[in-house]
Symmetry: C2
Subunit: 343 residues, 2 copies
């Protein structure tokens, strides 16, 4: 039976076929292909050659059935359209060697019952482990303690301290940003950020203020400008800021979106960036940061790294036992042209 355009080509070739062609039993064929010691070099060569000739590829389902290890992990996300899952996913993907482990991607779309649903399906598929990545860097409900596989929470930590969670270090990120501005010689530093209901906003602000305090400085404008995660808020807040505090020489924006708004208004107001006012963003969302005028210095959360670590922890946990608590991954500064030493 010929294979015509996607129609399955008869039966798939199995180890039996290989064995038959090589003139050995399936047992030795298996051993030969898996590099076991129990087979003569000459026999092994014959088997390998037969396998290639038939372009045999072992049925992973059957393997999984007997080894009790499927070689798959589930990635349960809640914001696919968001920009957080994707880098994490990529990091995870390349931490598992792609030939060893494949990842099932499930998007729960923020819906708890859909999440339970996906969870059931994944367990039914006998995944070896689970990575749960949330939509925002706030605590999320645990999946529970009595799952048959290890779970790592990424980005959104679990509310159960017995789980293992990996999060970005927002406090340190805020500190990083302000530290950079101070090193640039800035002294009148303002902080415009997003929704105060986000712990990310609070943490970054805390880190920023801590670093300011160390330098004996106060926030320009006297307080953190909380608002929304949008360009429009960036614009609005900047207008107010320039009004109230015209001698500001640096602005730390809580996100690249906000930073875009900040840049816009500074431009309108005729303040040069970076010579008069330095601006730093957060997220390193390339489309926004790299295309800004001028290109935006920003804090990268190292999400791929976070994903990679999540995968490593999970991998280590499979078969072994998992750590607990919240592990924190530091970000890094990406310097572009929106910041520069003063003078």
């Amino acid at each position: 039976m010929e294979s015509t355009n996607g129609t399955a080509t008869g039966r798939a070739v199995t180890l039996r076929d290989v064995a038959r062609l090589a003139g050995v039993s399936v047992a030795t064929a298996s051993k030969a292909l898996n590099g076991k010691q129990q087979v003569r070099a000459e026999t092994r060569a014959r088997v390998v050659q037969a396998a290639e000739q038939l372009s045999f590829s072992p049925n992973t389902l059957a393997q999984g059935l007997i080894t009790q290890r499927s070689g798959t992990v589930g990635l349960l996300t809640s914001d696919l359209e968001g920009r957080f899952s994707i880098p994490i996913l990529m990091g995870a993907e390349d931490a598992f060697g792609s030939d060893q482990t494949s990842v099932f991607l499930c998007d729960a779309r923020g819906d708890t019952i859909r999440e339970r649903h996906h969870l059931r399906a994944l367990l039914s598929r006998r995944v070896d482990g689970l990575i749960v990545v949330g939509a925002r860097p706030d605590t999320r409900p645990s999946l529970g303690r009595d799952l048959p596989v290890p779970v790592v929470y990424a980005y959104s930590p679990s509310d159960d301290p017995a789980d293992l969670s990996l999060v970005t270090d927002n406090v340190d990120g805020g500190r990083l940003a302000v530290d950079h501005l101070i090193r640039c010689g800035r002294r009148r530093i303002a902080h415009i950020t997003g929704d105060p209901g986000y712990s990310a906003a609070q943490d970054r602000a805390r880190g920023a203020q801590a670093r300011l305090a160390e330098a004996g400085l106060e926030l320009a404008g006297g307080e953190v400008w909380f608002g929304m995660w949008s360009e429009a808020w960036g614009r609005g807040a900047t207008r107010l800021l320039l009004d109230r505090c015209p001698d500001v020489d640096a602005i730390f924006a809580g996100s690249d979106e906000i930073a875009r708004g900040v840049l816009d208004v500074l431009h309108e107001a005729g303040r040069d960036v970076p010579s008069q006012v330095a601006v730093i963003g957060y997220d390193n969302w390339t489309i926004l940061a790299a295309n800004a005028r001028p290109p935006l210095t920003t804090v990268d959360m190292n999400l791929e790294e976070l994903g990679r670590i999540a995968a490593q922890r999970l991998f280590a946990a499979i078969g072994g036992t998992l750590g607990t608590g919240v592990e924190t991954v530091p970000g890094r500064l990406i310097t572009r042209e929106s910041t520069a030493p003063l003078g």
Copy 2:
């Protein structure tokens, strides 16, 4: 053995356990749970109850082994970080009922040998089908004709006409954009777009010009302004355009990024949008389009829809036979505030 924090909890519960608890054989247990006719209602109830009590979930690997259907599909992408794969993926995800089918996500990162690698792995896992989504809307090499499973190419069409490809309708998209501008009463319409090496750029331009011709109009500036897919090019081209053709009353930008650049320069030049110049983008990349000043009217490529259709075609093809050729999915206009009737 207790389950402690992710460590596997002894042996998983199997159909045998259910059968034993219900006092029947595994055969009847299977039939009972799968709604087969061969079992008395009372027996079925007993089995179901036992299954729930043990919270049994069938081993999909074993099922797949015998039914020759794994209930999985592979999604092979080349631009995870890009904005095209994700909506397609989401569309696909919700077209397959999530309890029926799970999707393996693989990112080849534009590397052909990594792609072969992933392909082998997916076939080894006995996926029921494959969706291949490319990074750019140009032709890509076919995976080949003699695969054991059906394949649908999305976004990037395959170079083999015997394959089934689904692409966005760029010609129609260009027409849509210009049609909207004409209906707004605009007559001096310019087109600034990206890299002329992209068929998307060419097609959109062709559609735009076709619609202009129907209205007896010519492109303002005389020609299409090809360049790069960047804000910077949008800015540069707009400056040139205003210079050469100051009475332009509408600009069709080949992407939202370009449109952002266009808006920036118009703003600087003191041209009001939309009262003096209407601007329309392409992609409906929300972060750019909705946050623009003013919010950007744009063409949405309906990528989720494309993903959904891809999944449907694939689903239909599994077991049956697949269509061939290139199928085209129309986009739709998203009107925001950057366009409005003249006067």
